[in-house]
Amino acid sequence: MNDVVTSPTRLRRGRALAGWAYAAPAAVIVAVLFLAPLVLVVIMSLHKWPLLGPARPNFPANYTKIPDDPLFLDSVLFTLKYTVIITILLSAVALGLALLVQDRRRGVGFFRTAFFLPGAVGFAAAALLFYGLLNNDFGPFGFLGVNWIGSPNMALTSTILLVLWRFAGFDMLILLTGLQAIPIEVYEAARADGANRWQIFTRITLPLLRPTLALMLILSITGSLLAFDQFFIFTNGGPDNSTVSMVMVVYRNAFFRFDLGGAAALSVVLLVVLVALNAVQMRILRGATTR
């Protein structure tokens, strides 16, 4: 009799303990490798923190010296410019590709795979691939006589080609999930009402695709603001430091100037700006989802 009364409580307690035990590895990783570094980056930013040797408090020097770093200010402008250009182009190309392969037809799987395949290649490998592809002595486009990474504008243009090639298919896949969630009946009803293709696109496809488009934009904007690989590997920041991104400056401060405190302060600034940006975008996204 006693057993029948106590066992549900004991069972529940036992289940809670088991649940904690199963979640423990994830909890340890989140605490040690995510929450602790978040705290540490703030602490570091308040110190003169050399690569070797003891740290000394120096608040607010790491923050107040940020505006004195001309390379960082240039990198902010450059990264913003890059983010605007690549986000617009990437959304347009990805949406175009997604619309081209949204219908189930013979061979459509091949096209989807072909557009996505560059996305399976690592970004570093893709950057090295383009390093050879756009080399005029070695690559196939030498006959065009274009100096692909010789001038600041061409270096940016070439990088954009690389990023479009590598990421358009990835964003296409995201948009495709949104396109396929639109019920066929909606299109059929519109067609029955005599809507033409342009009207269907602007009045039905685009509004219903808004949450997915917003998600793609968040990923693209965040990714672009944190751009590193493409400029570090492909243009190496050149020519004349014209393609130095914000994260490259963080890296340079930490590992070439051995100033981890300064790098941490830049990280904190980036972190706050991007989390705020994400929150705003998330709110817009959520608004779009509930509509």
């Binding site: 904690w20 994830a26 570094p37 690592g122 590193f228 963080v250």
Partner: protein, 259 residues
Amino acid sequence: MKYYSPRLALAVIFLFPLIWSGWASVQGPDGFTLANYRSITGFGEGLATYVGNSLALSGMTVVGTLVVATLGGYAFARFHFPGKNLLFLAALAILMVPYATILIPLYVLLDYVGLQNSLLGVSLVFVMFQLPFALYMMRNSFEAIPREIEESALVDGAGSFRVLLSVLLPAVRPGLVTVGLFAFLASWNDFFAPLILLSDGASFPLPVAVVSMTQRTFGAIDYGVLQAGVMVMAVPCLVLFLVLQRYYVRGFMSGALRG
């Protein structure tokens, strides 16, 4: 024809760089040659070292992600415990925090715990970055299984861990493949985290090793050898993706990217 020709033209544009790279990697002054691959095997610490590092890094990341996400997903889907929602939110918050901004403190932190310049340390960082997607994916996989299946086993006196191993794991296999594939592609290809967290050339994975090859030699890059390096990095990913494409697309459909 009107349907196929523009799509075919675009497919050619997207596939051309890959095909060109493969072709360029086997071209010498006198036509076909494997010389580029022979010379890349000998560069730096030897290609075998870098491939071994990459395999170890990806292997540890995939296994670690699968174990942590399976146990965690099971906990989130089937158990009630204090702090459950808080932990899940904290894990999802990893998506909100830009990757590059916490690598500087991670560099210091791994040093504190004796994991500086260690592939194990980098793989733990990769597991952390995979966690939001992996936990979300595995929680949904477990939630999709009807409870009746495990309840009969529990009534028969099996413990929850035995139920997980013998009853539930086979049922969440597709989710495991998706999570494993994402973890592999991310860890095999990542450049920035190993660049920051590893200092010794002998422990570099492929992307860092091949990039440092191009940046060390300045003007005198052998582009054919470089494309051989690109192929060594890219071909395993291309093959895996082509074989497991279905599982990759599932990851997109799950909405897990939304965070």
